[in-house]
Amino acid sequence: MTMPNAEPRPAAKASDYRSDVKPIWCPGCGDHHVLMAFTRAFAQLGLPREQIAVISGIGCSSRIPAYTNCYGFHGIHGRSLALAAGLKVTRPDLTVVVASGDGDGYSIGGNHFLHACRRNIDMTYVVMDNHIYGMTKGQPSPTTEPELDTAMSPGGTGLRPFHPLVVALASGANFVARCFSGNPNETAKVLAEAIQHPGFSFVEILSPCVTFRPDERKWKDLVHPAPVAATDDPGRAARRIMTDDGFNIGVLYRGDRIPFRPAGGASVPDLSELSAEFEI
């Protein structure tokens, strides 16, 4: 994040961070609330809009950048973390928030997820996990339950869902949290902390797809605050997550790894020095 100690500008309102583009999301989609949490977090931190870059891939969830009034990049499927990494290491002054979905981030973009955690660049990664491919109309994702019957997986995939939070911990993420879109205030608070936490912060937001997973409407009754406070021990955090019910909400891990060091200052005054080695 950019300005850990900057005074929040009192004038900032969540609506300042909303563009006038109307979301394409279905009514009731959890992503509406995620957008709300984004803008509230930005307002809480009082970040100048032009200093924020929201970077995404492809999917319903990935449509979020244009709905903010920040700089945005709606890139290609699965590659948002890489695009954001290039931006952040060359523009450390920007606050970079990456938005993704469970297909975008864990399937096609899975490899970048591992390496983004490992690289620990100072940015925030938000995955709106609805356990389904929403945009392509209901195929299983890496977090879909094995028994979910879909047109592309009749009778279910039979595959064990992926544990993104544990993968993040094992790969070196510096901050790990789980949120529920239905609690935008709490989500905003966690997002604000994630943005301020140095290094790579990973926030998984359970965000129901009411159209292809109407059963996820009941998530609001299942979620509950994490029973214990966040730990700074990645092994302990991973064990807790492996054995929890998947619905405990809150900051689960805060690490203190030193973030990636971005580009520095020049040490040669002019380029002709670089070619001295070629002189005969």
Partner: protein
């Protein structure tokens, strides 16, 4: 092999071969450096077996009084430091009746390509001779031999090895010098016709560098300050040269987890306002194609250098081919106008990469630079290049340009780009078809307007004379591209010596095509020979698809890794008569 046509004495061609650790490449490199320090020009290409380390290696060296840009069609001197696996080089070693072959009678027999060639074979016990020196090595004997046969002095050779081994300490240098001296003495009685006359003194400042290094320098000169890449032969040297040098100028190179990441990283960095580049080879370019379409649609300038190697698939990683032309030109889905450029020599890797950076930035479009293994990994001496004025400069939006439209339908098609941090110009870059403000749309009119915008900005730009090399005015035209330009140029000189007037046309800018300028370049032509290093005649087909020609095209195409030589081009032109 056939005798040289006997017209242009194109310097001397030497090869050193040896198994891994024999030091063939070192020998070639040091001889090149000694010759260049003595005022000669040279080109060193290398060819390697498939082993990671310890495989057979050959250093192919051409030395002359003028800059050298192409492969020789014959060898004047071949020294086998040893002959282990030397038969694998096959036709890459052009041994013939005019070649003097020197090899060690101990150890592996010379391969049939040597014994059946009619070459003059001389046996010298290199290994035994090296034993006279504590820590002596046969390749230093070979260096002394070859150096003297070229006409170099002993002090010139020892100075070069001293420089080369400066970090290895005095003992290593002394042993090498002693070995060189033994070889030098042994060369005294050897008859060798191709000896060079050394120039008086070199008048103009010169450089010795590889095409990959020249590419890196061109990138930095053009303004590149960020690179992200995944290692791949034969492009890695670009990255290894750029990593420390980018740091010196306040930039950064990031090793990505794969090429998908690399290209997206540079798109992100460029979106943030930093001119950015990646370098790769065919397999990596294949992975980058989807993101190239994104850069086209979102109008983000990036430079992708593809150092071509044999394909398809993993192909021949260590050897050259020109067969990535199709993917570079046609690889993307949708209508995706972009820039494709090709350097024409080691030295031109600098200019073309710098120009590509300039164009990408000016036109807010991706540029693919098609280099190849031949020039990328070759080392050559060049006249010191001028510091040219092409430094990337993009049109940026000023704070508060309201209402800001990132993809405004501006005259010329280039719309000012707001760099994040600029107040009041926040927008979302998008690969979805968008309106002028960047908002996604599926409307036909916006689709057409933006397709037109992106087409027109590239097509309407004035690329000047750099679009191609057009030399000579003969009725015969040799139409080629990339690293074969040097061979075409040499063929023209040979034909001129025989009284045949030919011209070379070699487009440096492959996309967008320049039909008007091509028509002018072709005025008065009665015969056209298209020369390229592909199996599928990709360049020939590209030319026929995009240009009109006054006469039928004659094709000379062959896949890698064998380079096409000037003599082959001359023959093909004459045969077609």
């Amino acid at each position: 092999m056939e005798k040289a046509t006997g017209t242009v004495p194109s310097g001397v061609a030497i090869a050193f071969v040896g198994s891994g650790g024999a030091g063939a490449l070192t020998t070639g490199n040091v001889l090149l450096e000694a010759a260049c320090a003595a005022g000669l020009h040279g080109l060193l290409t290398r060819t390697l077996g498939p082993q990671i380390r310890g495989g057979e290696a050959a250093a192919l060296l051409r030395l002359a009084s003028h800059p050298v840009e192409s492969a020789a069609d014959r060898l004047d001197l071949l020294i086998g430091i040893d002959w282990v696996n030397a038969e694998r080089f096959g036709a890459e070693l052009k041994v013939g009746p005019g070649t003097l072959v020197i090899g060690d009678p101990e150890g592996t027999e010379p391969p049939p390509l040597v014994t059946a060639s009619g070459a003059r074979i001389m046996e010298l016990p290199l290994t035994e001779m090296a034993k006279a020196v504590e820590g002596g090595r046969p390749n230093m004997i070979a260096l002394g031999l070859a150096g003297r046969l070229m006409g170099l002095g002993l002090d010139q050779l020892t100075a070069a090895i001293g420089k080369f081994l400066s970090e290895k300490g005095a003992a290593a240098i002394a042993a090498s010098c002693a070995g060189i001296e033994i070889g030098f003495s042994a060369a005294a009685g050897i008859e060798f016709g191709a000896r060079l006359t050394l120039p008086e003194a070199s008048e103009s400042p010169r450089w010795l560098l590889s095409g990959n290094e020249a590419t890196g320098l061109g990138a930095l000169r053009g303004g590149i300050r960020f690179a992200a890449a995944y290692p791949i032969t034969p492009a890695t040297e670009i990255l290894e040269w750029m990593a420390p040098n980018l740091t010196k100028v306040g930039g950064l190179l990031l090793q990505a987890e794969d090429e998908l990441a690399a290209v997206n990283m540079i798109i992100g960095a460029s979106y943030g306002g930093t001119p950015s580049l990646t370098a790769t080879s065919g397999p990596g370019l294949s992975l980058m194609i989807e993101a190239l379409g994104l850069a086209t649609s979102a109008e983000v300038p990036i430079v992708i250098v593809d150092v071509m190697r044999g394909g398809p698939s993993t192909g021949i990683p260590t050897k050259s081919e020109q067969a990535d032309l199709n993917i570079a030109v046609y690889g993307m889905h949708g209508d995706a106008p972009h820039l494709v450029l090709a350097p024409q020599s080691v030295g031109d890797c600098l200019f073309t990469t710098q120009w590509a950076t300039y164009l990408a930035e000016a036109l807010q479009a991706p540029a693919i630079v098609l280099s190849d293994q031949f020039m990328g990994q070759a080392r050559a001496s060049i006249e010191r290049p001028a510091d040219i004025a092409f430094v990337g400069k993009r049109a940026v939006a000023a704070a508060g340009s309201t209402p800001y439209k990132r993809y405004a339908l501006a005259a010329g098609g280039v719309s000012p780009m707001a760099i994040p941090g600029t107040p009041g110009c926040q927008y979302t870059a998008d690969g979805l078809t968008h309106t002028e403000t960047g908002t996604p749309t599926s409307g036909a009119q916006h689709h057409l307007a933006q397709l037109d915008k992106r087409h027109d900005k590239l097509d309407g730009f004035d690329y000047g004379n750099h679009w191609a090399t057009v030399e000579g005015s003969g009725e015969f035209a040799i139409l080629t591209w990339g690293s074969l330009t040097g061979a075409a140029r040499e063929a023209c000189e040979q034909l001129a010596a025989e009284g045949i007037a030919a011209r070379v046309i070699s487009p440096r800018l492959l996309l967008p095509t320049r039909p008007g300028q091509m028509a002018k370049a072709l005025e008065g032509v009665t015969r056209i020979l298209v020369v390229e290093q592909t199996h599928g005649a990709q360049f020939h087909r590209y030319l026929r698809a995009h240009y009109d020609f006054p006469v039928r095209l004659q094709a000379l195409n062959r896949p890698g890794p064998l380079p096409i030589t000037a003599q082959e081009i001359c023959r093909a032109l004459k045969e077609g008569q």
